[in-house]
Symmetry: C2
Subunit: 291 residues, 2 copies
């Protein structure tokens, strides 16, 4: 299922899983200017002659390319629907920016799926181009993936990434869902810290990286956006604010299925509980399977 005649990838590990195969790879990333890691799950039956739909997974702060795959239960449902998964790392590694390892919410593990424009971050912190262009193109050249049926799903910081990328390029990302996303980073502490560092003090440059502001600026997704949010999430009121995204969606007419779940928090225990519905949501759009 991997065809890499040019030797672009280093295979770090591969494991049979749920009838398919999950692999961990590294490569020299042009966007990041560094070695980058990602993971791919290929379901049984995929081949270059029979390419399968794919969902990209964007994890949250502190995670790696392994986290979403091992902790969310997503693979068993992707396998059931015949859908592949691509999981990115959450930041460049080893960029050498002073202080990049000092905080969990900035620098290493906290790339926010955008291209930094401010020195010294702009040299390597280019996860926007990596996730939006390089990783889909690379994986669709080397694996049996159908780029015309590509969805995106994320958690927390990764939920922010999924919403922003899908709203900016709906022709590229045909389906989108999120768990506990940061929907309005421009006005919450995590986002203000990251954006002021990566993008600078001029807040007008932040709007292209904020899902709520994108909606208000006229960016829409042609499908229903599925969002699950726990009501016992410790970050709900200070960092996440799905109510603001819902209000914006209502005002512009964006179809949104925002589900609030009493008692659930921000963890992968929460994601495990509702992941089946998310894969079904993507499958309905990407494969035509009834939701």
């Amino acid at each position: 299922m991997l065809s890499d005649p040019g030797g672009e990838l280093t295979t770090r590990a591969e494991h049979a899983c749920c009838g398919g195969r999950v692999g961990f790879y590294s490569h020299a990333s042009r966007a990041l200017g560094l070695e980058a890691r990602f993971a791919v799950f290929m379901p049984a039956g995929a081949s270059m002659a029979r390419r399968v739909p794919v969902i990209h997974l964007l994890a949250g702060l502190t995670c790696t390319e392994e986290t979403f795959l091992i902790k969310s239960n997503v693979i068993r449902f992707a396998a059931r629907h015949g859908i592949a998964l691509v999981a990115t790392d959450t930041s460049p590694r080893g960029a050498g920016v002073s202080g990049e390892d000092d905080a969990y919410d900035l620098g290493t593990g906290a790339g926010f799926y955008l291209d930094a424009t401010r020195a010294p971050w702009d040299a390597h912190y280019r996860m926007g181009t990596y996730v939006g262009d390089e990783l889909p193109h690379l994986t669709e050249r080397l694996f049996a993936l159908d780029g015309s049926r590509r969805g995106i799903m994320g958690h927390s910081m990764g939920g922010h990434g999924a919403l922003v990328h899908a709203l900016r390029a709906p022709q590229k990302w045909k389906s989108v869902s999120a768990f506990a996303p940061i929907v309005h980073p421009a006005i919450v502490p995590w986002g203000e810290k990251a954006f002021s560092t990566y993008l600078g003090a001029d807040r007008t440059t932040w709007a292209a990286h904020d899902a709520t502001l994108l909606l208000k600026a006229g960016h829409m997704h042609p499908t229903t956006i599925l969002i699950d949010q726990g009501e016992a999430d410790q970050f709900l009121h200070d960092q996440l604010r799905p109510d603001l995204f819902r209000d914006a969606a209502t005002s512009v007419g964006q179809a949104l299925d925002l589900r609030l779940h009493a008692g659930y928090d921000h963890s992968y225990w929460f994601i495990q509980s509702f992941i089946e519905d998310h894969v079904r949501h993507h499958a309905a759009i990407l494969t035509g399977t009834p939701a």
Copy 2:
């Protein structure tokens, strides 16, 4: 679902999951003479007036009480069958034995679910009594668990633990299954290292801690033992040897369902792939649900 009037437990974290609740606790263990950690998943609907069956989960080398729960996908199936889960840590922590942190396969993270008899290990390395007596009794006093419907499941070193405890006390452990268990530790490197350290050089004392030798000595389990084993497991030929357990089971008439899976390795990716069958196996015995 937790009733702890005596304040025996410290609650480290609790999370809603799959309609139920997974909690992480610590307590002063008598068996270990140390603070010990464990985790409990309680499905929806359990109460002290409506106690539920329980499966104890024993993880492998290097793991903690969290590993099996977060990586195996087990919770969603336990929730579906209305079964609780209890997950132990894999060794005492902070016993202070010289060298206990030096190797992944001895000491910390490698308690082998037995009581050491050799100094200085015997002071705290008493995971046999902990898993066999203290933890079931503690959790069945404080949680809505039905101790008359108690099963045990493990992986690798934990598969060894599950088989040994179930064969020695089938009246206590009503159902048993394992992933890639160490079935004959007395003759493989992991077991020889652990047993010679914890039990000493007299191999006659090892027999009570070896599932294959227990079978040969007449210990049987009244139910079918379910074992899944990957044929691409890197430890299959040197450490695991399920063929030896199968031969012993055949010779003594122990019912065994040993399933070999081409391409699968020793990881939680393998466990994820077959965990549903294991929970169904236990449910059929513990709840009477058809398998």
